[in-house]
């Protein structure tokens, strides 16, 4: 938890130091609008920037101690009236601040976005893991031959294709009226019952989930397959096979628990990415998910959302690390976590 706070603080401080600040971003966008009023003079621009900074709370000093501008190593104490202190006290009360762009509380925005992303990411992760296990067992057991090479080659191909290309290809192949038009029509009227609602969600979410699964499948399968193959050479595996057990059973019962370790590592690395890194899929399929929210907030310098997102991600990642360590211990009791 301490690390999560540390990371969020780091992002907070770094964001305040970036050269282009939120008030400049707001005013840059305003120049592009098609309105009759012309652009402002330098004095007016400076005045409005200062006004925005005050409204957003960016005019106060950043941290408890700041370097005096000009000198290299003189620091001044700013007391409790600084941005960091305000942010920290708000976070400890559960208030993650308000977005700079529209003034909405960050918790509401994040909750809405996560409500879209988490079911998507969760189902993609579950599907990907099961498929990865199945494919890895197949790859390890099939002793050469066309099937294995084909699967290996297609997994490598999937690895190479950038995610947006994958999403775009799926869209162009499966939702195009010229090619197969498998995606159902999206209707805006409310669903007649709960099952139809789930069905409708599944229909709309099928393509994004498919692209996510295909994207992470190589990362999960290939190291697992290699690990299984390596374990196949171990002494206990030979014993098991000499006992007369079929290869499938040997793999599942005896080898898999030993070979699962790299899978845990990659899986726990993957979960935070699935929550926040799926910007490409969300943009391609027009889903208002959390990845897109964070990406757009980062681009527009909307720091409350960015910092809250980093806090959330860091927390999730650390939970995953703890879960991974626990899974290691469960899979192989010899591994004691170091004190």
């Amino acid at each position: 938890m301490l690390a999560a706070w540390g990371i969020a603080s780091l992002v907070f401080l770094v964001s305040r130091v970036l050269p282009v600040s939120p008030e400049q971003v707001a005013l840059i966008e305003a120049e592009d609008l098609s309105r009759a009023v012309g652009p402002a003079s330098a004095v007016q621009l400076a005045a409005s920037q200062q006004a925005i900074r005050q409204r957003l709370g960016l005019a106060a000093p950043v941290f408890y101690i700041t370097r005096i501008p000009g000198s290299t190593n003189d620091w001044q104490w700013n007391g409790l009236h600084n941005q960091y202190h305000d942010w920290l006290s708000q976070v400890l009360h559960g208030n993650l601040g308000k977005s700079y762009l529209d003034g909405q509380p960050v918790t509401t925005l994040l909750a809405h976005a996560l409500a879209y992303s988490v079911p998507l990411a969760g189902s993609a992760a579950v599907l990907a893991t099961t498929l990865a296990l199945v494919l890895a067992l197949f790859l390890a057991s099939a002793s050469g031959g066309g099937g294995r090479t084909l699967v290996q080659a297609s997994l490598a191909a999937l690895q190479v294709i950038p995610l947006f290309l994958l999403a775009l290809t799926l869209l162009l192949l499966l939702a195009n009226p010229e090619m197969l038009n498998l995606m159902p029509e999206s209707s805006r009227s409310p669903a007649p019952n709960q099952l139809a609602a789930i069905g409708r969600w599944a229909g709309r979410a099928a393509l994004p989930i498919l692209s996510l699964v295909l994207a992470v499948l190589p990362t999960l399968t290939l190291p697992l397959a290699a690990s299984l193959r390596h374990e196949l050479n171990a002494a206990y595996a030979t014993t098991a096979r000499a006992k007369g057990l079929p290869i499938g059973r040997v793999l599942r019962r005896h080898l898999l628990p030993n070979a699962l370790l790299p899978l845990f590592t990659t899986l726990t690395d993957l979960l935070p990415t699935l929550v926040a890194g799926t910007v490409v899929v969300e943009v391609a399929f027009s889903l208002p998910g959390s990845g897109r929210l964070l990406a757009e907030a980062a681009a527009a310098h909307d720091y409350p959302i960015v910092v809250a997102g980093v806090l959330l991600l860091a927390g999730v990642r650390l939970l995953c690390l703890i879960a991974a360590d626990m899974l290691y211990f469960m899979a192989d009791p010899r591994l004691r976590p170091t004190t």
């Binding site: 101690i65 080659a153 490598a156 190479v160 294709i161 950038p162 190589p218 590592t265 890194g277 681009a299």
Partner: protein, 337 residues
């Protein structure tokens, strides 16, 4: 003793040939003759299908795809592969060290640690540096004095030592580096000046290193409890030697499958950097950046086919090399005397 030569599969030789072609192209790229110059848009043939002189077509920006392939090979050989190599090296070293020594096994002399901390604090110009640096130097000096006195008396040992919490350090660093979402990193970089090649290399290695470290650390935890490590330690070898010669080679086993994935991930990161405009301009082409231009014209399949195939073959070749056993022969004891 008999050596039985195990014939290597055809795929191994194909992989070797392909990788040497890529390597040669990458190294000789500035001197290769091209039908159409690189990074020059052909304004009359934007996103044109393969016709002479554009034997592989042009991309939506007008650049020749063949010239782009060769430039991409150069970038792969000069940037991506060294970055992956560096990341793997650093990751393997730190991860296995963290797994091997844990938090309490590695002991370093207090003088050294105090001196390093003092130097770091002074350079970082953090507040009250005069006071804290002098405290640290005082501690270092005292422990150095004690160590010298012990050495004079003839006692063994290096004086007061402090246990370096290596595992927590490495885990913490990887957690911090891994927890910063890539997006934030990219946006923060976008605000700065454009990166030179060395800076880009360092950045890519920095981003790819944590995953390797965690993987190797996990495997080291398993290798550490194996009997042969105990045997090596019992035979009196110094700790670092056991780590380097005995534990490290086995701990790197999951890396063989992971390195091609790491390369694919780095290429993905390079794509994102090029997309945001951080890496380098459109005059330096990579296979990944050619793939990103497909977004502007999804019907231009030739722009995706050529670099996609090239990337695919490279990854398959690396995988094949990783899977083939390391020695081309097996040793067989001659039983019959």
């Amino acid at each position: 003793m008999n050596f039985i030569w195990r014939p290597l599969p055809v795929a191994y030789w194909l992989a070797l040939v392909w990788l040497s072609v890529v390597l040669a192209t990458g190294l000789l790229a500035p001197w290769l003759p091209l039908p159409y110059p690189a990074a020059t848009p052909d304004l009359l043939h934007m996103a044109a299908p393969p016709t002479p002189p554009h034997y592989l077509g042009t991309d939506p920006l007008g650049r020749d795809v063949l010239a782009g392939l060769i430039a991409g090979a150069q970038r792969l050989v000069m940037l991506s592969l060294p970055a992956v190599g560096l990341a793997t090296l650093v990751g393997a070293a730190t991860g296995s060290a963290a797994g091997f020594w844990g938090n309490s096994q590695l002991r370093m002399p207090l003088t050294l640690v105090a001196g390093l901390l003092a130097g770091g604090y002074w350079l970082a110009a953090l507040p009250a540096r005069l006071g804290i640096t002098s405290c640290l130097l005082a501690i270092g000096a005292t422990s150095g004095l004690l160590a010298w006195k012990r050495a004079r008396v003839g006692r063994s040992g290096a004086g007061p030592t402090i246990a370096v919490p290596l595992d927590s350090l490495v885990l913490g660093t990887t957690a911090v580096l891994g927890a910063i979402p890539r997006l934030i990193l990219l946006v923060a970089l976008a605000a700065g000046p454009p990166l030179s090649s060395t800076q880009l290399l360092a950045l890519l290695a920095l981003v790819a290193w944590p995953e390797t470290a965690r993987l190797v650390r996990a495997h080291t935890l398993r290798v550490r409890v194996q009997p042969f490590i105990e045997a090596a330690q019992a035979s009196g070898l110094p700790g670092w030697r056991v780590w380097l010669r005995h534990a490290l080679p086995h701990a790197c086993q999951p890396l063989y499958a992971f390195v091609p994935l790491s390369l694919a991930g780095l290429i993905g990161l390079e794509n994102a950097l090029a997309f945001l405009g951080i890496g380098q301009g459109p005059d330096s082409v990579s296979w990944g950046s050619l793939l990103t231009t497909v977004r502007q014209d999804p019907t231009a399949w030739w722009v995706a086919a050529a670099p996609g195939l090239a990337l695919l073959c490279t990854l398959l070749a690396l995988q094949q090399l990783a899977q083939t056993p390391k020695t081309p022969f097996i040793l067989r004891q001659n039983r019959t005397k």
